[in-house]
Symmetry: C2
Subunit: 207 residues, 2 copies
DNA sequence: GCGCTATCTTAGCGTTGTTCAAATAAGAAA
DNA sequence: TTTCTTATTTGAACAACGCTAAGATAGCGC
């Protein structure tokens, strides 16, 4: 093994190309936007041939899946911060929603990749649904602590889904030009988000 | 002119190629899905050369805009039907939401094109916002007739936006696999939709 | 008849996703 | 050590894409 760990001329075998590709994709996503995120561009950004990624990902969508997974983990961090920043359960519900939409607003291209992956597979992201520590569970638990009846399994699930729908819808619409004046009138985007979410039952009063 | 060079059904100059292209695109969208909707495929479906569309649309996105416009008009018809099918204002609010999501559920690829166009331009579709007879206005008016204070301009707008967000979010998520069991438990997709929307304040009680 | 202009086609450029055989490096076996 | 084996990476190639340019065609006014 050469001592030059990160030399100018990369060694023939990349240390962890899979990881490097995902990072290159994220970098490209912030720099050039979702439209510029081609497999070849990612390979270029990682300094590797166009065919190299195929030894680590079956196809382009699998690379995007990995990027999306990274995104959901980042979102999860934002969720934890929002939860820990408030003690009152109703506040927590609302602020979880605000944190969700703010994340999407700050990383619009990443969020787009994240949801495109979910939609293409008609699948809630695994990290969101299956994991014990998932964001979905987190919303559910905050709803319970805010007064939702834990024995009403169906009602609880419907409420949780309603949260997701409102948050996702708002996340995709908050950047629309037509809302600019309203945001200004309310004194910023966050006030706007809270204003909208206040009309969603589960966000307004924790069920 | 060689008359049998080209099928007799179409002379060298197409009657209304612009229209034919939009229709071909819609046909292709239902038949093959959004992924297969390339400009060249649309030209092929319309029986025309790959370069022909460029005399009627600046680029591909402009063709998609036309397709999306068609979509919003179709949705508007569904809206009118839902509105006319109910007299009670609260029912109307809820059923507008159900009609919206059902439309998206029945034409998923068209709906995707519709919203992708809006998002790319950070623009609520013109047909939705600017027109007097627009769907946006329609929601707004039903909210007023359901008891919303018409003098509270900001509150009214926030409520209308909340409606759109919940409906759009649900429209994009209702096809997720994970919701199948819940739909069955509730006896169908429409019941599921009503169940979710019931947790959105504006849909639940007309503000 | 004449020309003008909009429309449509053919040909071609650069890019993309993907495959495949060949080249290379790293590790195990000898 | 040398050799064999396997995992990576490359270069070349293919089909399809969006788009442009230059030429062919047809309808319309003169």
């Amino acid at each position: 093994m050469r001592e030059s760990e990160v030399p100018e001329s990369r060694p023939y075998h990349h240390g962890d190309l899979r990881r490097a590709l995902v990072e290159a994709a994220c970098r490209l996503l912030e720099k050039e936007g979702a439209q510029a995120l081609s497999l070849r561009a990612v390979a270029r950004e990682a300094g590797v041939s166009p065919a190299a990624p195929y030894h680590h990902f079956k196809d382009k969508s699998e690379l995007l899946d990995a990027v999306a997974h990274e995104g959901w983990e980042k979102l999860d961090l934002a969720f934890q911060a929002a939860r820990d920043a408030h003690t009152s359960p109703p506040d927590r519900v609302r602020e979880l929603g605000v944190a969700y939409v703010c994340f999407a607003s700050q990383h619009p291209d990443l969020y787009r990749v994240m949801y495109d992956c979910s939609r293409d597979k008609a699948d809630m992201p695994a990290h969101v649904l299956e994991n014990e520590e998932s964001a979905y569970r987190r919303v559910r638990e905050v709803l319970i602590s805010a007064g939702a009846d834990p024995s009403d399994e169906i009602g609880l699930e419907l409420a949780t889904i309603a949260c997701w729908c409102a948050a996702h819808g708002l996340a995709e619409m908050t950047s629309f030009k037509q809302f600019e004046p309203l945001k200004e009138a309310l004194g910023g985007e966050e006030a706007f988000l809270r204003g909208v979410l206040a009309h969603v039952g589960v966000f307004a009063k924790g069920l």
